[in-house]
């Protein structure tokens, strides 16, 4: 808007300035030429009067002054005469008097007592007289001032009009792009059903809309194909893996009969089978989530109790000391709308992650944040570097801690699943630093108002 405004201001100012100076020159030149020509005629009348009827000179001068609206000052044979005794001789400069005395017709524009005057001096040797005619230019000055105000106002109006028009045109032109940008943002946020509405704003916009929708269709098709492939592969692998796990289980039952080297191999095999089973389960769940096939069973549940149960459940599996669960007093009765299974999976994955990479969860804290509840899962491990905070939620992302040989290898999909589940519950999750110096996973879920 500023650029449009400045552009219009520049153009209108330029046009206004050229117009003003053009008109000004024409007006001034015309006025002065007219006055000069009239002075010549008046001088000729005075000369004829002095020649034919000198005694009527006063009447003639009076008549000229009345008709021409000017003031005459005569120097007849060295004697100054005027009908207006108040008219100061200062109206005529000494230089103009000198020039006229030397036989030159002279003109000058002067300011006399704040009045702008145009003085014409004409020597007439034939009648021993110099005539000075003083013309008032105040009217011209007033006209020019009015013209300046009009042009200035017009320039201002044009500037405002141009800026407004520019903004209107640019908004109208950019509107389709804004719609495309919004749609792209929705698709990036996972809403693959978003499409651009077909408009008739112009062939280019229609072409853009068609191309964009076609691109999204292709993208969705590819994503669905990939998800289906991953799901199919996972399902296909599940049966042989189950058979493998059962075989390993049978071998475990006869462990004592195996040689020590075979026992060690069996231990490794069982661990890898467990990891592989977890990976397959996570892949299937992610595929279902991507395909939108995961059904939600939403319930209004007390968040404090739900969290405690989930933590206890995980700890039964993990073993060891149960982490501290801190709940703000006003959250004991607070409720959230969640799918219980997904919520428990979120807590489990976060605590498993802490178990794998940070020696376990040290605290699970619940606090209120306006209309939301904040659930923090803190550990006391090495923490997550600043640059990895967002990446840890990506699929198969291997962070700095994962490269430590001492840690138990995870599937690489746990946190990705957490984010998908949190999103499905209308929540959000971020990784940050915990007060204990380790990592903190902070989840926000909307609270549900329960009528008392």
């Amino acid at each position: 808007m500023l650029i449009f405004g400045l552009g219009t201001l520049l153009l209108s100012s330029l046009l206004g300035t050229l117009t003003y100076f053009g008109v000004r020159d024409v007006l001034i030149t015309q006025q002065q030429q007219t006055d000069l020509q009239q002075s010549y005629v008046n001088a000729a009348l005075i000369r004829n009067t002095l020649y034919t009827a000198p005694l009527t000179l006063t009447n003639e001068v009076s008549s000229i002054q009345q008709s021409a609206d000017s003031t005459l000052l005569l120097n007849i044979h060295g004697e100054w005469r005027t009908l207006n005794p108040q008219m100061p001789f200062i109206d005529v400069s000494a230089a103009a008097m000198e020039a006229t005395r030397h036989g030159h017709v002279s003109t000058e524009t002067r300011t006399v007592q704040s009045d702008l005057v145009y003085v014409v001096g004409i020597p007439m040797q034939s009648v021993q007289t110099e005539i000075f005619e003083v013309w008032q230019l105040d009217g011209l000055e007033s006209n020019l001032r009015t013209l300046l105000i009009i042009i200035g106002s017009a320039a201002l109006f044009t500037t405002v009009l141009g800026a407004s028009g520019g903004v209107w045109v640019s908004r109208r032109t950019l509107r389709p792009l804004v719609v495309v940008s919004d749609a792209a943002a929705k698709i990036a946020g996972g809403d693959f059903a978003t499409r651009l509405p077909t408009t008739h704003a112009g062939s280019e916009v229609e072409q853009l809309t068609e191309s964009f929708n076609e691109m999204v269709n292709q993208l969705v098709t590819k994503l669905e194909r990939d998800a289906r492939f991953a799901s199919d592969v996972s399902h296909e692998l599940r049966s042989p893996l189950t058979a493998l796990a059962m075989s390993a289980s049978i071998l475990e039952q006869h462990r004592e009969e195996l040689a020590p080297a075979a026992q060690e191999s069996l231990t490794l095999l069982s661990a890898e089978i467990l990891v592989f089973q977890g990976l397959i389960e996570d892949l299937i769940e992610l595929s279902r989530s991507d395909a939108g096939a995961n059904s939600l069973t939403l319930e209004v549940l007390p968040i404090a109790e739900l969290t405690r149960q989930a933590v206890r459940s995980v700890m039964r599996r993990q073993g060891g000391n149960e982490p501290l669960v801190e709940v703000d007093a006003d959250l004991e009765e607070a409720r959230v709308l969640v799918d219980r299974r997904r919520f428990e999976r979120i807590i489990a994955n976060l605590m498993d992650n802490a178990q794998h990479y940070a020696g376990g969860t040290v605290a699970v804290r619940l606090s209120r944040a306006g209309t939301h509840v904040t659930l923090n899962v803190d550990d006391a491990g090495p923490g997550i570097s600043e640059g990895e905070h967002e990446h840890v939620f990506e699929r198969f992302y291997r962070g700095r801690a994962a490269h430590d040989r001492s840690v138990v290898r995870g599937t690489g999909l746990g946190l990705a699943l957490v984010r998908e589940h949190v999103k499905s519950l209308d929540g959000e999750i971020h990784a940050t630093a915990s007060p204990e110096g380790g990592a903190r996973f902070q989840m926000k879920l909307p609270l549900v108002e329960v009528p008392s």
């Binding site: 002095l50 000198p54 020039a99 002279s106 702008l116 034939s126 021993q128 001032r145 300046l148």
Partner: protein, 192 residues
């Protein structure tokens, strides 16, 4: 901040311009080329005349000073000056600068000089009726103005006045009535 500065500068310019003359004044007079001056105004003689020129000479026209005495005041008249041209200035009265010096005239503005000539040293002057309507003292001063102006123009013998072609006699201060008024008759009214 920058935008505010721009608007401030524009406002300042407008303020400065509003106080300026929109028509520029000249530092020195512009001289017009003599070839561009029409109507023969710069010619030494009057066009379409027989190489005529109007010359002015100064002649004494008698007015009245603060002491009620007639005194000569120089007046420009075209050359060659005629008695009629010179007497014309008596009813016109003193100029502004003369008035500032206390000079006046006893001849009313409404008086018209109909005719004025000099014959054999005597000025023959016909005027309108306003002269007869003046009080006797003022009338004598008015006649003195005509008399001494005519004498200055060569009417050494005096003046004979008629009012609308009717001979006029002036009653002098001693009670005598004269039709030919000589300089000695009114010498007491002239500043020596």
């Amino acid at each position: 901040m920058t935008r505010r500065r721009h608007f401030g500068a524009i406002g300042l310019c407008a303020l400065v311009l509003s106080g300026c003359n929109l028509v520029s004044t000249s530092s020195a007079p512009t001289l017009i080329n003599s070839n561009n001056v029409p109507l023969g105004l710069l010619a030494p003689t009057i066009p379409f005349s027989d190489f005529a020129r109007v010359l002015f000479v100064t002649r004494d026209v008698y007015m009245v000073n603060k002491s009620e005495l007639v005194v000569p005041e120089p007046q420009l008249v075209t050359s060659p000056p005629s008695l009629f041209d010179v007497l014309y200035y008596i009813p016109v009265g003193p100029t502004t600068s003369e008035q500032l010096r206390g000079i006046s005239s006893q001849v009313p503005h409404s008086l018209v000089v109909n005719q004025a000539t000099i014959q054999d040293g005597v000025a023959l002057v016909d005027v309108s009726n306003q002269l007869a309507q003046l009080p006797s003292v003022a009338r004598r001063v008015a006649v003195a103005q005509f008399l001494f102006t005519a004498v200055a123009m060569g009417a050494s013998e005096g003046i004979r006045i008629s009012i609308n072609q009717t001979p006029f006699s002036l009653t002098l201060a001693n009670g005598t009535s004269v039709s030919l008024i000589t300089p000695s008759d009114l010498a007491y009214l002239k500043k020596s």
